[in-house]
Symmetry: C2
Subunit: 147 residues, 2 copies
């Protein structure tokens, strides 16, 4: 069922807490806190190469390689989050962008799809796909689109 | 549960049929056949702009705008399909590329994430996210990656 402001199941509340915790852990750059939210064999289609990251160790390695380029505090701005719960599985999608980093230009809006499963009573992230579209006519990523 | 060669539930069989039907409808360029597989309010994060397509009519319009550039027969090559079923919801991801089109260069491998729900006893596509990664250092889409 799709969440609404007036009717929220326990699963929906837990999933919104998971999404908020993921965002907080990313903003805190706390990798231990972040990686707890993923299953061990998560598959991530990330915004930059390679095509896929297989397993939470590979995902963590990607983050650790990025952190030196993310000096100082930053925030994740989120728009249009939609969450759907279906028993033992759920998914959500939203737009996000990093703000506050001193990179000299605005960072692009990204599309995020996340899939969740309940593992031992706890919702975990089993798959993520983060991307920007690209222009087929010139091979450039579409970095200035607004949601 | 993740599908294996030796243990397949009815849901898994139906979902694999849906995925095969989607591919066949795309290869046949049969939009009526293809659109039947999607819920009316599907949200698609497509490989090219805009950021999202909301609703099956918008998705169909995108396809119809593309078909004039897809003269002649083509095939969808698929690799590394993984399907997970969890009650009334399921998801799959795979790599795909178009082959056989006379465009003078190989087309890139795309990442595809699809989310399904059972609606009135029938599995339908409720969300898709298709993309290539991009190189943050130059803003170019990563068009030559191999799975």
């Amino acid at each position: 069922m799709t969440t609404t402001a007036t009717s929220k199941t326990t699963d929906e509340v837990q999933l919104r807490e998971l999404i908020a915790e993921q965002r907080a852990a990313m903003e805190a750059k706390d990798m231990d806190r972040l990686m707890k939210l993923y299953i061990d064999d998560v598959v991530v289609f990330d915004v930059k190469p390679p095509l896929q990251l297989q397993g939470v160790a590979a995902y963590r390695q990607m983050w650790e390689a990025c952190l030196p380029y993310m000096e100082g505090p930053y925030r994740l701005e989120v728009r249009d989050l939609q969450l759907t719960v279906g028993g033992e599985m759920a998914f959500a999608h939203w737009f996000l962008r990093l703000t506050g980093l001193d990179v000299g230009h605005p960072l692009p809006w990204l599309r995020n799809t996340a899939v969740y499963r309940k593992v031992g009573g706890t919702w975990r992230i089993v798959h993520e796909h983060v991307s920007v579209p690209f222009h087929p006519e010139n091979g450039q990523a579409a970095l200035s689109l607004e949601p």
